[in-house]
Amino acid sequence: MTLLAAASIATGVMMLVAAVAALVVKKLISAIIIVGFVSLSASILFLLMDAPDVAITEASIGAAISTVIFLWGKGKIGGEE
């Protein structure tokens, strides 16, 4: 239990740092990559909260599909930020 608590706190801290970084980082493409990491750590937290169904859904949506949607949007707008 102590180990899982430590793991969840560490993951949570990394997730919050990554979320702030995604909003302040200069290039939009880097922000999209970092949001991918946020969704990854959210998936870990869901697994630690005994919700494997939600973890699978978050992994299957957050890892590929939402990344692709944002990349497509950036590709269509074009140009730098």
């Binding site: 169904d53 973890a55 859904t57 992994a59 949506i61 949607i69 590709g75 269509k76 074009g78």
Partner: protein
């Protein structure tokens, strides 16, 4: 700059309000109300070992039908709005290794998605994540191959067929027992087997087909808006 600071102040004030509204910082002693009920009676009521799927498909099946409708309208809106976006430039072709991989792997990813859909009542999974995995296989084909897969008619027919089947499965229960989406129109079987839990696997399959076809439709319309015709 002033924007950032004002935003920060608003957010901090909100966090103070939320933190001060929590009465005490102790652990809850146990489940209450409907959650307790589901964990006690879920397996006997539905025959599904995975209680989350039991709640999604059986207890709250009507809500899920509504959510599928929301998903349908959102994806339809995406496809409609995308027809307004003008065509983009030609994309760079992918390398031969990526093209080869995108020809080889999708089959096994689809198999994997079908496993997640059909074992929704036995292990983590169900229609929603499984459908997303199947849509990901479609995505891999679109990322890797340099041709635009043109099967949108098939996708549309799968989508509407799945929607109609969901409704029909619901009305089946209504006709037999006077209750929409009654689970026991098929035998419950013994919990833990593949063929068990009444119509839960069938509805999972329908939801999976619906989610997969809708997400794939969104992807293919993105690709069409960007490619050269």
């Amino acid at each position: 700059m002033i924007r950032t600071i004002v935003g920060l102040i608003i957010v901090l004030a909100l966090s103070v309000v939320v933190i001060s509204s929590v009465p005490d910082y102790s652990l809850p002693s146990g489940l209450q109300g409907v959650g307790q009920d589901y964990t006690e009676r879920g397996v006997n009521d539905t025959g599904s070992v995975n209680l989350v799927t039991a709640v999604v498909v059986a207890y709250r099946g009507l809500d899920t039908l509504g959510e599928v409708v929301v998903l349908f309208s959102a994806s339809t809106a995406v496809v409609l709005v995308l027809t307004l976006v003008p065509m983009g430039a030609n994309p760079t072709p992918s390398s031969s290794i990526v093209a080869f991989t995108s020809g080889v792997l999708p089959g096994s990813i689809v198999l994997f998605g079908i496993y997640i859909i059909t074992h929704g009542h036995l292990s983590p999974g169900g229609g929603f994540p499984g459908g997303a995995v199947v849509a990901s296989a479609f995505l891999l084909v679109m990322l890797g191959s340099n041709k635009i897969p043109g099967k949108s008619k098939l996708l549309a027919s799968i989508e509407s067929l799945a929607g109609v089947t969901f409704g029909l499965l619901g009305f089946w229960g209504m006709m037999m027992f006077g209750q929409f989406l009654n689970n026991m129109v098929l035998p419950a079987g013994s919990p833990g087997k593949l063929f068990s839990a009444g119509i839960i696997p069938l509805i999972s399959l329908v939801i999976g087909a619906k989610v997969a076809s809708e997400l794939s439709g969104v992807f293919s319309s993105y690709r069409k808006a960007g490619g050269d015709e």
